[in-house]
């Protein structure tokens, strides 16, 4: 842009040109805790505020993925033409969070509500001063369009010659890592009230039922293909063949021995623990029942 031509060019200053290529952001990975946090802050917002903003914490992986692991809300005031963000609060909370987990740094900010507006650009500017290339997450708590859209944006600056025109927000694909939520169990997290946490045996039962239904489905599918009702799909067939082949090929005698040995081990452990329990109750009776002379 050194030479002043007759035609000035509309330039995109893409993130990859200002920083090195390895830190261009490709995707955003979001952990379920962030969504819970955002929803909770939205529910608790002061009545005057229409939306909530907050900081996103996480880390940037070397392949360009932004791993968003935690978040906290920041109080702010928004009117039609100006935006005020409580910067002290933001820094205080950041310091507190860093004390617990110094590896989680600022990676961007979030706001509720669909879409990006003028105020967001100003806030994004502020965050751009804190970290290079912040990511902006919008969580649509209003469920416009009938779905709760979670979108992530990166901004790049539009400049005409030397003048800054606008900031363009480009959408970045979002990867929702629900592994932790799955571990806890969707039933627990989905319902508004769960009366009792499932204990191990109940969880086991659920899993077995699911496995059984899966096997039934596969069975029905294979049957219908054999009878010619559904067109065979080679990929599915290959998957099924792989799954069946992954069962270890042991002669039945060896397998039976294996299973019986394991069963006996478990029984031994059960026996040991019952003995220990009896020993405990006996010892306790003896201890406290001993008479002083």
């Amino acid at each position: 842009m050194a030479a002043a031509n007759e035609h000035t060019v509309l330039q995109f200053a893409t993130p990859s040109s200002t920083t090195s290529a390895t830190t261009s952001i490709l995707t955003a990975r979001i952990h379920p805790l962030v969504i819970f946090n955002v929803c909770d802050c939205f529910v608790r917002r002061p009545d005057s505020a229409e939306r909530v903003i907050g900081t996103l914490l996480g880390s940037i992986l070397p392949d360009g993925t932004v791993d968003i692991r935690n978040s906290y809300a920041v109080p702010h005031n928004e009117s039609s033409d100006q935006v005020a963000v409580d910067i002290d609060y933001h820094h205080n909370m950041l310091a507190s969070h860093l004390k617990v987990n110094p590896k989680e740094i600022i990676v961007g900010w979030y706001s509720t509500g669909l879409g990006v507006n003028g105020g967001s650009a100003l806030i994004h500017d502020f965050y751009a001063r804190e970290v290079t290339n912040p990511i902006h997450l919008t969580v649509d708590t209003g469920f416009t369009n009938g779905e709760g859209a979670i979108k992530a944006f990166v901004s790049s600056n539009l400049s005409l010659g030397d003048r800054q025109l606008a900031a363009q927000f480009q959408e970045v694909p979002v990867d929702l890592r629900m592994v932790e939520a799955e571990r806890v169990g969707y039933d627990v997290l989905k319902a508004t009230a769960v009366d009792k946490l499932p204990n191990d045996m109940e969880g086991m039962e659920l899993t077995m039922e699911r496995l059984l239904s899966l096997i039934n489905d596969v069975y029905k599918y294979v049957d219908s293909v054999v009878e010619g009702q559904t067109p065979p799909d080679n990929n599915i067939g290959r998957f099924i063949a792989e799954a069946v082949a992954s069962l270890p090929k042991l002669p039945p005698q060896v397998f039976d021995n294996l299973v019986n040995d394991s069963l006996q081990d478990q029984l031994l452990l059960l026996y040991l623990s019952s003995i220990t329990r009896t020993q405990l109750s006996l010892a306790e009776k003896l201890n406290t029942a001993a008479q002083m002379l």
Partner: protein, 337 residues
């Protein structure tokens, strides 16, 4: 009119005097996820954090929580820790989060959390808050696909005993107090706001099998069981040491009693001789004699705690072994087909 007003006042004051016993702990999904995240990130280090919420009737609601930074053993960090807590509570207050401390949570390894420190922390909290609860999360058990979250509280009778500082056998027999009465486990309920529930319903994947199922169906539970057995054996050793202490005490006590009897006999004969000689009899007690010094009875608190831990381990082994049975039968059935 006046009598009605007075009886109303009386009714209110009577309600305040007796707080209903804590029956249920209601946690929000947000707090559950936070606790799990924090404990898992720092495993195997043990971490703690604070619980915030409301105390409503017989339900203790936990609406949020924040983790404590890991402290190196340094005296000046004491003030830092308190500052951190105040700072966090103040900041959370500004975003309308319930600012009330209702307890704390901690992670544990294989369920070995019954220590004297736990009791001391409880007593510390109890002085400031009327009702507090401790939530224990076990990340090692979570690898087996179980949501290992437990809410604990010290029983009232135990707290009285602890304040009196007296754990002798007689006192315990009076109150009919056994090792099972130290901790009370409170059932946990999980609640979620409607917004979160809407999001979760939408984000739930359509896959028929989830990660939790994968965890539960894996059959290699040996490391978990091995560690459990190791801890169990160590605890039994500790328990036998405690019992030896008691044996030693009793032996000393009986020996002292015998000595006292012998001394008493000698005194009596001496007195009889003196009386026959016309002199004053010597007193039958002599507090300055060392054999009359009472031997302190060792406290039973340690042995109770160890007993609790052992019983916990046994329970865990039972649970996992039971699960293994089902898994083994499953593989057997699969193979036969």
């Amino acid at each position: 009119m006046a009598t009605m007003a007075r009886s109303f006042l009386q009714a209110i004051s009577k309600d305040e005097a007796v707080a209903p016993p804590l029956r249920v702990v209601q946690i929000e999904g947000l707090a559950v996820l936070k606790i799990i995240k924090h404990c898992k990130e720092f495993a195997p280090t043990l971490v703690t954090g604070q619980l915030l919420g409301l105390d409503v009737g017989s339900v203790l609601e936990v609406t949020n929580c924040f983790p404590f930074p890991v402290r190196d053993d340094d005296e000046e960090i004491e003030a830092d820790g308190a500052n951190y807590q105040l700072e966090m509570m103040r900041c959370l207050r500004e975003v309308n989060v319930d600012n009330n401390t209702v307890g704390w949570y901690q992670s544990t390894v294989l369920g070995s959390y019954q220590t004297v420190e736990l009791i001391e922390t409880f007593m510390n909290y109890q002085e400031n808050i009327k009702r507090c609860v401790c939530i224990i999360y076990d990340p090692s058990k979570a690898d087996l696909g179980v949501l290992a979250l437990k809410a604990l509280k010290l029983s009232d009778s135990f707290m009285e005993l602890y304040r009196a500082g007296n754990f002798t056998g007689e006192k315990l027999r009076e109150k009919n107090f056994s090792w099972m009465d130290i901790f009370e486990e409170i059932p946990i309920k999980v609640s979620n706001s409607a917004l979160v529930s809407a999001f979760m319903t939408e984000l739930e994947t359509d896959a028929p099998v989830s990660q939790g199922d994968y965890d539960r169906l894996q059959s290699s539970t040996t490391p978990f069981l091995e560690n459990n057995m190791e801890f169990l054996i160590k605890c039994m050793d500790d328990l036998s040491m405690e019992q030896q202490k008691f044996q030693y005490y009793y032996r000393n006590l009986s020996r002292q009693q015998a000595q006292q009897q012998a001394w008493l006999q000698k005194r009596r004969t001496e007195n009889m001789a003196r009386r026959s000689a016309g002199e004053e009899p010597l007193p039958e007690e002599d507090p300055s004699n060392p054999i009359f010094k009472p031997i302190p009875e060792p406290s039973r608190l340690e042995s109770f705690l160890i007993t609790n831990q052992v019983s916990n381990f046994c329970g865990q082994i039972n649970g996992v072994a039971g699960q293994n049975f089902s898994r083994l039968y499953l593989t057997k059935a699969l193979h036969e087909n």
